[in-house]
């Protein structure tokens, strides 16, 4: 028996990944986990606001000197920003393309409607868009200081207090942090499944970690505006 031998070359790894729904979801999972790792570091840094303006502003300055003297001033910050930007683009483009495909795959809806899947699962798309818009606002507010009421470069403590002294600053922030929590709750567990790390025996542990991460991130981030609102931080 003679079997046909394939003579065409396999496409590159990147092309295979991007060309498949499973591969594209893996890109979404990895980029999401990178951003999740950043959020954990971010929330830990935020909590330094409770130790007063000197420590918080000193910490913000230190972030610019990480890696010195090997790295020049702010280089590490820019490396992190580039990695995050690449992650956001990969995450958003894969989410957009997969969502388009998913909607096309179910062109006719059922006449008998009933809620499907959990709240966190159903809000992934809208929640992701809300978080994406928030990131734009957040950078304009506390990085470029374009919309910040205080807008003092090098004084992040005072800028944070100024933002959370406005009603809209609080509303935008609180809504976005709830969206982050819901997004992480389904996203972390889902990423583990996409990357093949889940199993029946590990399922409970993964769900616990996902819920724990969602809770710690939301509570940690929300603590800052609540502290400013109650006068604990001023």
């Amino acid at each position: 028996m003679v079997l046909a031998t394939r003579t065409d070359r396999d496409p590159s790894l990147l092309r295979t990944l991007w060309g498949s729904t499973i591969g594209k979801k893996a890109v979404m999972a990895v980029s999401g986990l990178i951003m999740l790792g950043y959020l954990v570091a971010h929330v830990a840094g935020n909590l330094k606001v409770f130790f007063g303006p000197e420590e918080f502003n000193g910490y913000a300055h230190w972030l610019r000197t990480i890696g010195a003297p090997v790295l020049h001033y702010e280089w590490m910050l820019w490396i992190v920003r580039v990695v995050l930007l690449a992650s956001i683009v990969a995450h958003a483009v894969s989410a957009y393309q997969l969502s388009r495909r998913d909607i096309r795959a179910r062109p006719v809806k059922y006449a008998h409607k009933r809620p499907r899947a959990s709240y966190a699962t159903r809000t992934m798309r809208w929640g992701g868009i809300i978080v994406g818009l928030f990131v734009v606002w957040h950078i304009l507010d506390l990085t470029t200081l374009t919309v910040n009421p205080n807008a003092q470069p090098g004084r992040p403590y005072e800028n944070v207090v100024a933002t959370f002294s406005t009603w809209y600053g609080n509303v935008i922030y609180l809504v976005a942090m709830l969206a982050v929590g819901l997004h992480v709750r389904h996203g972390f567990w889902s990423a583990a499944q996409t990357l093949g790390a889940g199993s029946a025996s590990r399922d409970r542990a993964l769900k616990t970690v996902a819920n724990g991460l969602a809770l710690v991130l939301t509570a940690g981030f929300v603590a800052v505006p609540v502290a400013v609102m109650t006068g604990l931080v001023s």
């Binding site: 028996m1 729904t21 909607i103 008998h112 093949g196 889940g198």
Partner: protein, 249 residues
Amino acid sequence: MRLTLRVWRQRDAGAPGAMTTYEVDGISEDMSFLEMLDTLNERLILDGEDPVAFDHDCREGICGACSLVINGDAHGPERTTTCQLHMRSFADGDSIDVEPWRAAAFPVVKDLVVDRSAFDRIIQSGGYVSVPTGSAPEAHATPVPKADADHAFENAECIGCGACVAACPNGSAMLFTAAKVNHLNVLPQGAPERESRVLDMVATMDAEGFGGCTLAGECATACPKGIPLPSITAMNKEWLRATRKGRKS
């Protein structure tokens, strides 16, 4: 029992369809859901109307021919196939919505019948084991660890009915494809084609226009054979492994 049915009627693939209301009386709670539809059809035929077309074959829950989304649930409220669903799951006077599987990859042929040949093409692209023909080999010649045999059998239970696609908000065929991939990839007989099987079947699944997986879990809840959601995780792992290693056959 007296029931009000709202059934999707569509003359053919090209015609527009609509939910049509029928009153049925004299339904016994011991009837299966399909027998209830038979009763409706007998009356429609006597009245000179076109009977409701629906798929069915063995009517004992093993062939995967029957379908129907009943009150928004694939195969109805019980975890079984539509043919094994009995009218005792409903109450006298109930209103029941009956719709076909909804997915771009499963176009409606007529009324409640959809074309599920996309599943056949996924199977054709790798859902088999290539063996030279001849006499059957001695079953004990290839030892299979108990855990692997159990895992293979759990996935082999898939009857290919398509309830997973019907229940999925994205019309995704991941659970079906995963069941077939896991069933063969875990067994020594399936090992030579392990990489090409998962790569080809997933590629065909994508090409057929099914949606992607968002881990909503609706598929595993609807599956009449209880194929578990972690089967999808296991297929993702197989696919990523095969992508890394490259195909061997």
